[in-house]
Symmetry: none
Subunit: 90 residues, 5 copies
């Protein structure tokens, strides 16, 4: 039991942090991207001749916004698979 204790704490903390973190870290990008999509669709409806401009701007912006979600995913995967601090416990 003694030897398992630190591993247990680390494992539970990691599970909670990664699980909660990835959810919170993707919710905000998804939300603002969604609002941007609404605006773009609205714009195409009102100014059909600007459709290309709107779509280009939207897609580049979404790619940039998506990157914040990917940063979160990156850190979470590191915490799970490549956390260098854990080498001594496991």
């Amino acid at each position: 039991m003694n030897t398992l204790e630190p591993q247990l704490q680390i494992t539970i903390v990691t599970i909670i942090v990664t699980g909660v973190g990835i959810v919170l870290g993707t919710v905000v990008p998804a939300w603002v991207e969604g609002k941007a999509v609404l605006k773009a669709l609205e714009g195409i409806t009102r100014q059909p001749e600007s459709a290309n401009d709107l779509r280009t701007t939207l897609l580049i912006s979404m790619a940039l916004l998506e990157s914040t979600a990917i940063y979160v995913l990156l850190v979470m995967l590191i915490l799970l698979f490549a956390n260098p601090l854990l080498d001594r416990f496991f």
Copy 2:
């Protein structure tokens, strides 16, 4: 009982985190995607000649939004099936 205790805690934490996480992580993308669909349908109704532009923009955007839900799904599946921290407990 002593040997089961850590496994029990980890299992319960994992079940709760994955169950709650996947729900919260898919709700927001689904919600904003749905609102985008509404706007697109509204736009096609008002500007039938823009239908192609609207549909293209909508589908690319939904694919990008869907990706945030997939990040969450990915982390949840890792927590369930490939959590490398668990190797020592089970």
Copy 3:
């Protein structure tokens, strides 16, 4: 009783998480899909000549929205049938 205790806790947690999760995880997609259907039907009524565009957009969008519900279903079924953490308890 001692040997049953952990199994009991896990079973109760699993029942609650899967039961609550699948409901919450399907409610939002169902809700926004329903609103999309309303909008599409309204659009077809006002612009009968756009019926094909509206129907195509609606169906592809619903398939994408449905996928978020399927992610939730997937995780719930895994929790019930293929939870790899449970091998040691049962």
Copy 4:
């Protein structure tokens, strides 16, 4: 147990700080970038002839805003992989 104790505390603190930090540190840039995208799309709709100006301004601004998220990511990665204070513990 004695020798593991400091390592354990540091590891848990690091996991929590990096997990929480990257989420909080990406949420605000994502949020304000999203609002900037909304404004730009709205502007293109109302002034289609300014589309290029708006898009250029938007993208340069997003790159600058993105940099704050990258600072956070940088510090988090340093805490995980290159924290020089940890040399003595591990």
Copy 5:
């Protein structure tokens, strides 16, 4: 344990301070920069002929604002890599 104690405290304090600090120190610049971007985009929409003036002003301002985030980043990196007070402990 005795010899490790001060190092442990310093390390944990450093991790928390740098992690929390970089997040707080980038959030506010990102937020006000984002609001400046909004205003600039709004201005370009309403006065397309002022686009160059607005963009130039915006970018110089953002560079200056960004500098506050860089000061925070600088101090955090010093705390991590070059804290002169730590020489006696490590």
